[in-house]
Structure formats: structure tokens, C-alpha cells
């Protein structure tokens, strides 16, 4: 039940983001269409100067919140997805190598994982961001922010993938079919990709789901620390950061709607991940 519900919510959000340019009544990322006088319009009430009405109200710059959330979702989802992909690819490859070859390579990779754990994503992001900012021209600021977010979140989340994959590989490689594959003279690479990889896919998938939710929240947290995307093209996290400034002043909608969207998104992914874990874990059934 819960799983179906959360899957439905998740798909809806994804579709909303994908078709944002058809669904959004405004184009909040085009500054020439904004009118500052529309700022702080409450939801479903006409603005006192322009008379315009907005479904979810407007933010401090007069942007339609509903449209901005849709476009912001795109950024958040893109960052989350790419970060997970990066973490997964890195983690799976390093885990496979580590588990399959053992020896000094194994030791180095696992040590690297330890060091990585020392620097949680927030620290990594601030480091990478600081460097990138110093070296790239400001015109590339938007692209850079997104890349930095992806790299820093991706870098800090590869460890669970690597450890899980390495563990499963260690177990799998002792099994008879791998031993026989080896005896048949198959190359390491093809053993890894054709035989071991399919067997470790399910735990990887579970971790990926949870990491996806983590990445989306990490993006929001980093925006709070000022390491996120520019406010002219806000992500969901940046919107929340802007919105919390107006919590005490009575402009609740600027915080509430983006926060609810983020909550719905992360919660549905987490619930879906739970369900996936239970489905794929034979021990519980």
C-alpha cells in the first residue's frame, strides 16, 4: 500500500519536473519576465500593485512559486541523480576491484574509503567549491555550482557502494561457478562484469535509492551553507534556504511549499527504498 502510494508520488514529482516547461504558468528562470512588484504575493490572492494572482504565491523577487518549484525540482533531481550515478559507478568499480583482486590494491582502496569517511559531503563540497570557484570564470558559475554539487555529493557517497560490493564479491568469488569460470580461463574483467555484477545488483539498487534521497537533502543543506546554485536559478534547497528567512515574518508560503515538495520527494524515495529492501532481502521473508 505504502509502497504503491510512495511510488505514485515519486512518479508524479518526476513527471512534473520533466514537463515543467509545459506545466509551469511562468518562466521564473528568465529574469526579463519578472516584476519585482509581484514580490511576496500570498497564494491565491491578488497582488496589491499588479493585481496578478498566483497559485502558491510568489517569493521575494516576485517569482511564481509553483513554477519556481517545478523548475527547481529539475535541478534537485538532476543533481541527485547524477550524484548517485557517480557514487554508484565509482563505488561499484572500486568495490569490484577491491574484492576480486585483494592484496595491496584492496588495502589501498579500503584505506581510501576510510579517508573519504573523514570528509563528509559537506566538507568535501566546501573544499571542491572553494577550488573550483577560484579557478573558473564567473560566467560558468551556474554550471560550476551544479557540477560541484554532483562531484562533492557523489564523491562522499561512494563508500557504502564499494563496501557492499566488495563484501558480496568476496562471498561470490569463492562460489563454485566463479572458480570454474576461472579454470575455464575467462578473463578477470569478464568474470567481474558477467558473473559477479548481476549477483550484487540488488543491494546496490537499495543503496542507490537511499543515496538518492540523501543526495537531494545534501543539496539543500549545501545551499544553506552558501555552496549551492545561484539564487537566480534556485533549486529546491535554495528555495528552502530563501524561505526560512521569512518564517517569522508571516510569509509562510515561501518556505512551506518548497519544504513540502522536498519532504514528499525524499519521503517517497525512502519509503520506496524500504519496500525495495524488503522485497530483495530474502532473510526477512
Amino acid at each position: 500500500m505504502l509502497a504503491v502510494g510512495s511510488f505514485f508520488v515519486f512518479t508524479t514529482i518526476i513527471l512534473l519536473a520533466i514537463f515543467a516547461n509545459y506545466l509551469a504558468p511562468h518562466t521564473p528562470f528568465d529574469p526579463s519576465t519578472l516584476n519585482l512588484m509581484n514580490g511576496f504575493t500570498p497564494p491565491m490572492e491578488p497582488n496589491e500593485f499588479t493585481g496578478q494572482v498566483f497559485l502558491m504565491g510568489t517569493d521575494d523577487q516576485g517569482r511564481d512559486l509553483f513554477s519556481t518549484i517545478l523548475y527547481g525540482l529539475r535541478i534537485s533531481l538532476f543533481v541527485g541523480l547524477m550524484a548517485v550515478l557517480l557514487a554508484m559507478v565509482l563505488g561499484v568499480i572500486l568495490g569490484l576491484i577491491s574484492g576480486f583482486s585483494g592484496g595491496w590494491l584492496d588495502i589501498i582502496i579500503m584505506r581510501l574509503a576510510d579517508i573519504q569517511m573523514t570528509f563528509p559531503s559537506i566538507l568535501v563540497a566546501m573544499l571542491v567549491y572553494g577550488v573550483a570557484r577560484g579557478m573558473l570564470p564567473p560566467e560558468l558559475r551556474y554550471e560550476m555550482s551544479i557540477t560541484v554539487l554532483i562531484i562533492s555529493i557523489g564523491l562522499s557517497e561512494w563508500v557504502p557502494f564499494a563496501r557492499t560490493v566488495r563484501g558480496s564479491t568476496l562471498v561470490e568469488k569463492e562460489k563454485d561457478y566463479i572458480t570454474s569460470a576461472r579454470m575455464l580461463g575467462l578473463k578477470r574483467f569478464s568474470i567481474m562484469t558477467r558473473h559477479i555484477l548481476p549477483n550484487i545488483l540488488s543491494p546496490v539498487l537499495v543503496i542507490a535509492t537511499i543515496t538518492f534521497a540523501l543526495a537531494i537533502i545534501a543539496e539543500a543543506t549545501l545551499s544553506f551553507l552558501g555552496v549551492g546554485v545561484p539564487t537566480t536559478k534556485p533549486s529546491l534547497g535554495t528555495l528552502i534556504r530563501i524561505g526560512q528567512d521569512f518564517l517569522f515574518s508571516g510569509e509562510w508560503w515561501i518556505l512551506l511549499f518548497p519544504a513540502l515538495t522536498l519532504l514528499a520527494l525524499a519521503l517517497s524515495i525512502n519509503l520506496f527504498g524500504d519496500w525495495l529492501r524488503d522485497m530483495l532481502n530474502p532473510k526477512i521473508h
Binding site: N35, L36, Q61, P138, R141, T231, Q244, F248, S249, G250
Partner: protein
Amino acid sequence: MFKKLVIPALMISFTISSATAETVRWARAGDGITMDPHAQNEGPTHALNHQIYDSLLQRDMSGAIIPSLATAWSALPDNPKIWRFNLRKGVKFHNGATFDSEDVVFSLNRAMADGSEMKELLSSIKEVRAVDSHVVDIETNGANPLLINNLTNMFMMDKGWSEVNDVMTPHDVAKGETNFATMNTNGTGAFMLVSRSVDEKTVLKANPDYWGKNLYPNQVTEIIYTPIQSSATRVAALLSGEVDIIQDVPVQDLGRVSSTDGLKLATAAQNRVIFLGLNTVEGPTAELKVRQAMNIAINRESIKKVVMRGQSDPTGVIMPPFVNGWTEKLNEYPAYNLDKAKALMSEAGYSNGFDIVLNCPNDRYINDEAICQAAVGMMAQIGINVTLDAKPKAQHFPIAKGGEADFYMLGWGVPTFDSHYIFNYLVHTQTDDRGSWNPTGYSNAEVDTMIVSLESETDLSKRNDTISKIWANVQDAQMYLPIHNQVLNWGMRSGIEFDVQPEDQPHFQFLKFN
């Protein structure tokens, strides 16, 4: 330690005002950097030191210059290069030492020593001499009619104490130096330092032997100063009664603060102007018509109304109204006129607009990033595609003044209350010792000469004529797009009677409880 344990135990009931009536719990966004009075020239540092140290003369809560440790001063009639100061008698430092002319000579020399951040303000001084125990002469290189304007933040230290503790020169913060005076104080001021933990908490108590005891209200017996960076947390602390006064209420929370029972707002214009600077040498903004177009494409009224919630004074000149040289006429800002702006753009050959980066701080001025964001939208209306690059001030300022930026935000306060201060940093050609904040490339030899001449012109009406001539040049060149003068908002408990000081410096001896 016993006391520390007992007091909070008594505060179990959640009352709004748990401190005694005489204690003021004061919060603002940032802490002072050092207690050494000459080591930094920075607002929060001076604000804290003003409670402990006194200067020869000071600005009161309205910004007017009043006597402090000097009771009278004037340039000698026969020699305008010499200023004579009569010192207040019977003043004691916190350690009991007597304040006399030796301390003044020592302190001013200390403020001019290496490592001092105050020395630029004293650069016109040739020598400081003690005439007798309570009379001091300051001789300047040329006649300096406005010397006293530079002395309001120039604090007096005890020579004997400085010798004993080896703090004869200021510590050079920049070199990572530190000295006894970084954390210890001995002033003549209304308050004495009890304890200090940087960025956390500073406690001051009233000086029982304060010389101004009968001159000012002096109702505060204890000050607990806690910097709170996060604006939401700072407002929350005021709303929940955990602090009595905050210096920087975010504009969006003004309504909440003023409508909360037991709290009130005090508002006053600040001596700080906010503007955007443009590259006048390269790129499209080198074209005067483009700069003019940008100037009238900025809708200052809507910035005031929406971004600043009415808390700003839009202006057409980069000069706060407190400054000598300010006129209504200069202050008038051009009407927002999109059609005219577009016409100017096409006259300049940019009817299709252009791309530019706007560099902006995000932790320095009131709503700085939001103002820049609004400017991005306004520039888009005339086809200029602006990329906003907002950063913390530590990263913004090197770009803004280094000449790397074509379009940037800056705010300027004028501690001397005179136009020369603005010209010297923002208008003069960028050279080794002048024009350090003028990366626009604006350079006019005639204007430069006029700026330098202001420093020794004793005929004040002639001097004011020169000032208005320079302003005419600045307004014509349009290298700066003025936005507004900031407005200060202090939020405080209703029981407090306290005026907002235009330099954002509370002097707690003036505070009254009612």
C-alpha cells in the same frame, strides 16, 4: 562559581525578562575582532571598544560631535596648522591611573605606529605635543580644518599600563600577532571588561568612577554582548526575550518585532550608501550612454518597497545625507524610464543588449544579494543579460576593488562626514595611496588635483565650491549607479529608551530605562 550555579536555578520559570533591570543583553551579527583600540578600523570592533575606551571627542547618539576626554578644542588663531585641546580633569583609568596629556601623546603616536589600522586617519599629523598636564597641541603638515572629524574613534590608552604590559604598539592583526591588549583593557570609559570569549560572549560592568557619571543617564550596570550570526536565530532571541536589544533586525521581521508585546523598533538613517560600480574603460559599459541607460533602468522605488520593505532612502548620488557636500539636488534620483533606457541602449549600438557579470556580496549589506537579484531582472528589461555572482564579503571585495569586475556592488560609509573621504577612495585615479576602491577606471587629472587640494584648503566656502565641482564631474561620468542609503533598525525591549546612532554604534551610557 556558586553564583553561576544559583542564578539559572532561579530562572526556571519561563519569564520574558529574567535579567535584572540594569542588565542589557545586546546582540548583533558579528563580534569585534580585537580589544586593542588601534589594531582595527571596523564597525563592530569600535562599537565594543566605545563602551570601554574614550576618545578626545565623540559622536553622540544623533551623530553630532560632543566633548569627551577633551572639553574644548580649536585651531590656534595665529597658526591654523596647530590644534589645541584642553583635557578633562579628574579622569581616571579603570586601573586607577590618572588621565593626562602624556596619555594623549602616547595614544595618538600609538595609533600612528606600524600595525595600527587607524593611521590613515591621522596621516596629516606632524607632531603631538603636551603643553602642560592637561593641554595638548596637535600640529598638522598643512592646515587641516577637519582634523577633529578623524578623532572620534581614536581611543585613549594609559601610557603606564601599556608600558607594564608591553603593548606600546598595536598588534598587527594582519600578521597574526597578538598582545596583552587583545583580550585585556584599561580605558576611561563607562564600562569595564569583565570577561570575553570571542564570537561567544563578552561581559562588561559599569565603571563606578566614570567621569561622565553626572553628564549622561548611566543607568546600565551590566552589558552582556553575544554575537548571533544567523538572522533567524537573532530575531528569535529577541522575540523570545533572550536578548534586550539587537542592532540588525532583518527588514522582513520588522513588522513581527514591532507588533510583539514588550518589543519596539527604533529606526534612523544610516551613514552608508549602497551603489553599483561599472567598468568605464572596457566593454559595453565604457559607453556613457549605456551607463546612463542602466541608471534609469533601475527602479529604485520598487527595490525600496519590496526588497527593503520601505526601509531605505533611494538616492541619486553616492553620498549619505550626513556628509558635507550633500544637497537635495544631488540626492534626487532619475525617474525610472524603460523607454528612454532602451532608446539610449540602441543609440549606443546595443539594442540587442549584452552579457555581463554582476559581482555581489551576500553577507555585508542589508539584503545585498536580493538587491542584486532585483537588478538582474531590471537589466534584463533593457536586454542586458546579467549573471549574478554572489559571494561572502571575504571573496567579494578582492574582486570588487581589484578591477576584475565590470559590474559590482559596494557600500560606503563616511566616518569623517566629509565628501573628501568619498572622493579620495572612490573617485581619485587608482594609485598607490589613493583611489584604492576605484576600480572603475575613471581617471580625471583635473578632478584628482581638486581632490588633493581639499586636504589643505582652509577657506571653507572655497573648499565647498571645489567639492560641488567634483560632484558635478562624478554625476556626469556616471561610473556609479547609486541605489539607496541604508536605514538602521534596532529592535529592543519596550522598557528601553535608546536612539539609533547613524554610525550603528550604541553608546550604552546614553541608554535609559523607563
